[in-house]
C-alpha cells in the first residue's frame, strides 16, 4: 500500500500518462473540385475494400466525369508486414503519380 502523502490519510498523486510527443499536423488543403483531379486509393486488403472503391469510383465519376484514380493495386496492402516502409514511401509515390488527394480504407 502506498504511503499516505501527508500523514492525514490523503494521497497526493500524479497522473499516469506520458508526455504527448506528436504535435498537431495541419491537414492538406482540400480541393476546390474533383474535376480533372487524381485520387489515390489506399487499401489494407480487408472488408471488401475492392468493392467499396469500385463503387466509390462509379459514384464520384457520376458527379465529376473527369476525375482520375490511382488504384490500390498500385500500392499494395497498407496493413502488411512492410506497412511502415510502404507508408513512408507514399509522399514520393504520390509526387511521381501526380496524386492530388487520397482515400484510405478500410477501418473497422
Amino acid at each position: 500500500m502506498a504511503k499516505k502523502s501527508n500523514g492525514t490519510g490523503v494521497y497526493e498523486v500524479v497522473w499516469p500518462r506520458g508526455e504527448r510527443r506528436q504535435a498537431l499536423r495541419p491537414l492538406a488543403k482540400r480541393l476546390d473540385t474533383l474535376e480533372g483531379k487524381t485520387i489515390a486509393q489506399l487499401w489494407d486488403y480487408l472488408f471488401f475494400g475492392d468493392e467499396v472503391f469500385s463503387q466509390l469510383e462509379e459514384s464520384l465519376r457520376a458527379q465529376y466525369p473527369d476525375v482520375k484514380f490511382v488504384s490500390w493495386r498500385e500500392f499494395g496492402s497498407t496493413h502488411a508486414v512492410n506497412e511502415k516502409e510502404l507508408l513512408a514511401s507514399l509522399p514520393q509515390r504520390f509526387k511521381e503519380l501526380g496524386v492530388d488527394a487520397a482515400i484510405s480504407s478500410m477501418a473497422c
Binding site: M1, A2, K3, K4, S5, G9, V10, Y11, E12, V13, V14, W15, P16, R17, G18, E19, R20, R21, Q22, A23, L24, R25, P26, L27, K29, R30, L31, D32, T33, L34, I39, Y45, L46, F47, F48, E51, V52, Q55, L56, E58, S59, L60, Q63, H79, A80, V81, K84, A101, I103, M106, A107, C108
Partner: protein
C-alpha cells in the same frame, strides 16, 4: 468511427475527416454494400475531399510530477476510474514517495524516454513506467522487469500499435533467468493463474501501461470485440529445463542461459490438452500436434500470405514431466518443433476455404502462393485438396516452453497473432546493488 477519431488525435490530426459505411461490410450482400457506399459513403467522401476541416486545439496536460489530485484512497480511485486511468480494480495511489521507491531499483534517469508509443504517440518514460507499476500493485523491486517490458513494448518488431485490434488478443509475458527465484515468481503449479503477487501484478502492469502509456481505451481505440483480461506472467521452470539438458526460452530468443529476460507475444487464444499419455515422444506427440493445429485456425492467415507470410509463432507449453519424458528419450526442443512442423497440419482445402470465403483474407490458393515463391513447396506437393499442410513455414516458428505443475501430464497450446504482436525479447538490466538489496527483502 470512434477508433478513427481517437487514433487521429495521436497522429496529430484530430480533425482528419472520416467517411462511414453503415453497418459492417462483412455482414452485407454485395448489393447492400454497393447501395450503402453509393447512398452514404460516397457523399461523405466527396465532402471530405472538398471541405476544409476546422483547425483543432489540443488541451493542456499535466507535467509528469504535477500533483493532479489529493484525496483519500477511495477518492483517488474514483478520480482515476473516472478519467479512464484505471482498469476498474482499485489502484495503489501513485504518490511521489512511492514512485521514488520504484525508481531506486533502476540506474536509469526517470525522464529517459524509451520510445514513443502509438496510438497516442506518448513518451514511454522510466517515470511513467514506475507510476503504472505502483498503480498495478507491483513491489518496487519488480521495476527492472517493468522497464524491460516497456523496452519490448516500444520495439517496432512487436507492433504495439496493433494492440487494439478486433480479435482482442492478449499479450503473454514469459520470464526467464534467476530473477524468477529472486522475486519469488510462481513457475510451477497454476503458473498462469492469479494468486502470486509478482506474476499477477506484473501482468496487470502490462495492461495498465497499454492503457495509460500507449493509450488503448475500450470504446475508443481498443476495439477488441470481446477482449480478454490480462495474462499473469508465465515464468519458465529453469530447474527442470537445466536438469533435462534443454535450453530456456531466453536462449531461443538469442540470449545466454542464465540471463534475465522478458519475452512478449500476443496470443489470440489458447487451450489445454489434459492427460497426455505415453512413455515416449512418439506416443505423446500425436495428441499435442493435433491440439496445436486445432488451436491455430484463422491465424494461419499470418503464415500463408493472407495477412503476411510466415509470421505466425504458435506456442506449446509442456509441463516438466512431459518435457522430461521426451528428453529422456533423447528428444530436444528442435525435435519437438520438427515433429510439430510435420504433424501439426491442416487440410489445404480448409485453409483455402477459410481465407477465400470465411474470413475474406484472399490468397487465391496455396498453389498460387507457392508458384509466386511466397510459400515453400511443402504447401503444394500435390493437387489433392485434402493434402495436409503445415501451419507455419519453418519448424523453428514454433515456440516451446516448459512450466506448470511438474507432475501433471498436461500441455497448453496458444494461438498467436503473427506480426500484430510478434515475439520480442529484452534483457532485464538490474541496478548495481541488486544482489545486496534483494537479499534484504
Amino acid at each position: 468511427m470512434g477508433q478513427a477519431a481517437a487514433t487521429s488525435v495521436g497522429l496529430g490530426m484530430p480533425n482528419m475527416p472520416v467517411a462511414m459505411i453503415p453497418g459492417h461490410p462483412g455482414a452485407q450482400s454485395l448489393e447492400e454494400l454497393r447501395a450503402n457506399v453509393r447512398n452514404v459513403t460516397a457523399q461523405q467522401v466527396m465532402e471530405n475531399l472538398l471541405r476544409q476541416p476546422e483547425e483543432p486545439v489540443l488541451g493542456a496536460e499535466p507535467e509528469a510530477r504535477d500533483i493532479v489530485f489529493s484525496g483519500t484512497f477511495e477518492e483517488v480511485n474514483a478520480h482515476f476510474y473516472g478519467r479512464e486511468w484505471s482498469d476498474g480494480l482499485p489502484i495503489v495511489p501513485p504518490t511521489l514517495e512511492k514512485i521514488e521507491e520504484f525508481l531506486s531499483y533502476t540506474d536509469r534517469p526517470p525522464d529517459e524516454c524509451l520510445g514513443v508509443l502509438l496510438p497516442e504517440s506518448r513518451a514511454a518514460t522510466i517515470w511513467a513506467t514506475a507510476v503504472n507499476g505502483v498503480m498495478a500493485g507491483c513491489r518496487p523491486e519488480y521495476m527492472p522487469i517493468l522497464v524491460a517490458l516497456i523496452e519490448a513494448m516500444v520495439d517496432p518488431t512487436y507492433g504495439v500499435e496493433h494492440s487494439g485490434n478486433t480479435p482482442g488478443s492478449e499479450t503473454l509475458i514469459v520470464l526467464n533467468g534467476p530473477i524468477i527465484k529472486d522475486l519469488k515468481f510462481n513457475y510451477t503449479q497454476g503458473v498462469m493463474r492469479d494468486g502470486f503477487m509478482p506474476n499477477t501484478s506484473v501482468g496487470r502492469f502490462w495492461r495498465l501501461a497499454l492503457r495509460n502509456m500507449a493509450g488503448f481505451l475500450l470504446h475508443k481505440n481498443d476495439k477488441g470485440t470481446f477482449g480478454n483480461t490480462f495474462r499473469v506472467v508465465l515464468a519458465e521452470n529453469e530447474d527442470a529445463i537445466a536438469k533435462m539438458g534443454w535450453v530456456p526460452n531466453s536462449v531461443d530468443m538469442g540470449f545466454k542461459a542464465g540471463d534475465n529476460t522478458v519475452t512478449i507475444s500476443r496470443m489470440t487464444g489458447g487451450g489445454v490438452m489434459p492427460s497426455v499419455t505415453g512413455s515416449t515422444p512418439e506416443q505423446m506427440m500425436p495428441y499435442l500436434a493435433d491440439g496445436v493445429a486445432k488451436q491455430n485456425g484463422w491465424e494461419t492467415a499470418f503464415t500463408v500470405g493472407a495477412l503476411t507470410i510466415g509470421t505466425l509463432r504458435p506456442v506449446l507449453v509442456l509441463s516438466p514431466i512431459l518435457a522430461e519424458t521426451m528428453a529422456r528419450c533423447g528428444w530436444s526442443k528442435d525435435d519437438v518443433k520438427r515433429y510439430l512442423f510435420e504433424h501439426a497440419r491442416t487440410p489445404a482445402s480448409r485453409i483455402e476455404t477459410m481465407m477465400e470465403k470465411w474470413v475474406d483474407f484472399r490468397i487465391g490458393s496455396l498453389e498460387r502462393q507457392v508458384n509466386l515463391g511466397r510459400l515453400p513447396k511443402v504447401f503444394h506437393e500435390s493437387n489433392d485438396p485434402n493434402r495436409m499442410v503445415p501451419i507455419v513455414v519453418d519448424p523453428d516458428d514454433f515456440v516451446i516452453l516448459v512450466s506448470g505443475d511438474p507432475l501433471r501430464t498436461n500441455a497448453y497450446a496458444f494461438a498467436q497473432n503473427g506480426y500484430l504482436g510478434f515475439p520480442t525479447a529484452k534483457k532485464i538490466q538490474l541496478p548495481k546493488d541488486w544482489r545486496e538489496r534483494i537479499q534484504k527483502t
